[in-house]
Amino acid sequence: MQFDITIQMTMGSVRRRLFRPRVSRSFTLDTRLACDVRNLVLAGPSGSGKSLTLQAVAGLLTPDSGRIVVGGRVFFDSTQGINLPPRDRRLGYVFQDYALFPHNTVRENIGFGLRRWSANLSLEQRTAVTEVMDVFGIRQLEDARPSEISGGQRQRTALARAIVTRPDVLLLDEPFSALDQPLRVRMREELARILAHYSIPMILVTHDIEEAEFFAETVAVYAEGGVRDILSATDLAAAGKSVSGTVGNVMRSAYGAL
């Protein structure tokens, strides 16, 4: 999967006073990122702009200028005036808090993206939902609502919901941050296995050094609103360096830079 992402964006919170709007706390993101990999990891400390990059790729935010090309499809190009709406980008997205619909059951949540306007899925679609629930081991929870299941089960549901539509790319925004340590390790192994099985590429955002090391194929290390370093596993291996060690070192120095 080819990623070609160039974004400039200034974020400011506009506080409206009585008559005059007042802009405060602005943050500038300036990112250049081009690679051709299965798994891209955006890593770095909180507030470094990695989540903003992911949201721009998904179309949840519109950059001020730049160009976003994923797998040869142009999502955004400010010079040509292209801005594909999120619904046409064929993505899967897992939110940090999962954003499962509280009024829907696990099964309804997973099936949401399969059918327009209706919760009545075709036999084929129902089978697809059942299959992905089996893959994540949440079949027995199909009639439960998100509030009735555990954090780990919610996360599996969110992943299943993002994968069932067979997206071109899966975007994950700190998906494991709400889980406890042992579960986090197990879930990321499970996720790697499942993505390989369905051969879905992913972009993962994380501030966790261990996680970045684990998924390291290409890691873009963020600091202070821009990409500080792009580390490619193949290049590192060719240079005879330890991949995870180098990723860890660069990330630690990015944390230190703050």
Binding site: L60, P86, F95, D97, A99, R116, W117, T165
Partner: protein, 225 residues
Amino acid sequence: MLYSVMTPLLLTLKVVFWATLIAATCGVVAAYLFSRSSFWGRDWLDAACTLPLVMPPTVLGYYLIVLIGRNGILGKWLEEYFGVTLMFTWQGAVIAAAVVSFPLVFKSARAALESVPDNYLQAARIMGAGEWEIFFRVTLPLSFRGVLAGTMLAFARAMGEFGATLMVAGNLPGRTQTLSLAVYSAVQAGDDTLANILVCIVSLLCVVLLVITGKLLAGQSIKAS
């Protein structure tokens, strides 16, 4: 006696039904537009939408006369091209009641719609849903309680409507005399029996309404995840 009770009762139910329907539809649509977009003059339009709540009903009734009266801005046009007169008809009473109860739906629907976390909408968007689909499959189910509560308040307000209705539709027995107007007329005429019966009916309707609302809201409990 039966006639003087049933006529205002049936008329009230008819007027309140249509008024609530209009107020609820317009209120939810307006609330949705407000919660989704920002435009110049938004605060002023918001104030204008809430105005019927704070203005004296008679003042509102006067504005309505200016608008839909026979010589009114809209009324003249309606009469000229469609031959429709709204003054002193039950349809006029519907409009008066709808305008008065509109802010109640608008306010609570807007608070409910805005309380739906953005994340849910964005998740639905990424999964390919259009804005209308998101509204009906995500936003509305999640803000259903607020919308329903507002609609019930609007219903009650429409039933109690007096001032604006009196100005616009008058107090014509059998044609525009709703329950609250009939109570007033009965008391004025010294007909205590009729007044008692009418007051009991109104009170009963209000209690039933509150119980139904409570039941509906209890059955619709959605725990946040």
